[in-house]
């Protein structure tokens, strides 16, 4: 009986060890490409253009202490960035944040850009899990364009924007993310 127990454990151990070994190797092979994909996805030129027209790159904020403070107080904020054009001139600030109100399925992740004058330069969705054809339409320019030009210091109310029929939860989630960025902007950045 005791021998049998040892054998069972040994077999499972061997299978587990071999599986882990293969996965560790594959993880090693793919990790670089995966990191590149993720970086490209959040730095897609079309997204950069939509958030801050003319920008070619979003750089991390120089004041890392400030970013840490904000992240400590506002757990939905992912990062603060500076948008720069091809010759390296700063065009404005960009806040990367999750929504504070849950959408139809999970948080939405957005970039919200602010011009030096304190207006919203553009908003773009980085990732969401909303229903295809309904909530996913919040990611389309017809919806996101409504935020361009609004003040970056006053929270946006839901009746200021044209909602999408059948996607109320996604719209509320989207607006909450923009408002979260506005809160951070008006408190720390402007």
């Amino acid at each position: 009986m005791k021998n049998n127990f040892v054998k069972l454990a040994a077999v499972l151990f061997i299978i587990g060890a071999v599986a882990s070994g293969i996965l560790a190797w594959l993880n090693d092979v793919t990790s670089e490409r995966i990191a590149l994909n993720e970086a490209m996805a959040s730095m897609d030129p079309a997204i950069l253009e939509a958030v801050m027209p003319g920008s070619v790159m979003f750089n991390d904020y120089e004041d890392t202490d400030l970013v840490e403070t904000i992240k400590g107080e506002n757990e939905k904020v992912i990062n603060l960035l500076t948008a720069v054009d091809a010759s390296g001139n700063e065009l404005g600030k960009v806040i990367r944040t999750f929504s504070t109100v849950r959408g139809f399925s999970g948080d939405m992740e957005l970039y919200v850009g602010f011009t030096p004058e304190g207006q919203i330069s553009g908003v773009s969705v980085i990732s969401h899990q909303e229903t295809e054809g309904l909530g996913s339409r919040t990611a389309e320019p017809a919806f996101t364009g409504q935020f361009t030009g609004k003040s970056g210091e006053v929270r946006i109310t839901e009746d200021e924007i044209d909602a999408i029929t059948g996607a109320t939860m996604s719209v509320n989630s989207f607006v909450s993310a923009v408002n979260n960025a506005i809160d951070v902007y008006s408190e720390y950045v402007k």
């Binding site: 069972l8 077999v11 299978i15 996965l23 594959l26 054809g133």
Partner: protein, 198 residues
């Protein structure tokens, strides 16, 4: 059982979705567009065939008492491999399928084939069984996801097939529509198979 029968068994007689109706959670969730349906179908087929091969090869090495945890380790390893590969090489599809790729681990069709077929048959037959069941799964996914994409979005693989004037039937891409359309699909399949028997 000859080889062709093993394959046909998965596609028609014991089709995992249309007949056995196992693992339909992911089926209902991700079949909102044809590309998702195909992607998920191919991912499941790969994991199923891969785990069938390994489990069949190890069937004399794995003691009966620990066979279920052993199968799960093998299935989880294959699923994680697919997850990593899709994340690296088919990023758009990976984003669209989201959490349902890791959930392939708990898709009962895979454990069911390991237990019912691969652990009792030789490697070659197990490969055919995996491909047959995978093809049956893929077929059901393609039927359901193309119907939902046409009705709910008026497109197929992103190309417009219905005129702009068509008002998309929103329910088709929402969960209730998935249940209704899957029910209708199963009804049609039952009708056809009963007619064939008669």
């Amino acid at each position: 059982m000859n080889k062709l029968d093993i394959f046909k068994n998965g596609v028609t007689t014991e089709n995992p979705i249309l007949v056995q109706q196992v693992g339909i959670c992911a089926t209902l969730a991700i079949t909102t567009s044809l590309i998702n349906g195909i992607g998920m179908g191919v991912a499941v087929t790969t994991v199923l065939t891969g785990s069938n091969i390994v489990i069949s090869a190890l069937r004399k090495f794995i003691p009966d008492e620990v066979r279920i945890p052993a199968f799960i380790i093998v299935i989880a390893a294959f699923t994680t491999m697919i997850d990593l590969l899709m994340h690296a090489y088919t990023f758009e599809l990976y984003k669209a399928l989201g959490v349902f790729i890791p959930l392939i681990v708990v898709n009962c069709i895979i454990l069911a084939r390991a237990e019912a077929f691969a652990s009792k048959n030789n490697i070659f037959d197990s490969i055919i069984d995996g491909l047959g069941m995978g093809a049956g799964y893929l077929l059901a996914m393609v039927l359901l996801s193309s119907t939902r994409e046409i009705l709910g979005n008026g497109t197929i693989l992103g190309f417009r097939v219905l005129p702009e004037a068509y008002e998309p039937m929103m329910m088709a891409v929402q969960p209730p529509g998935a249940f209704i359309l899957l029910g209708l699909l199963i009804g049609i399949v039952n009708y056809l198979s009963n007619k064939k028997k008669a």
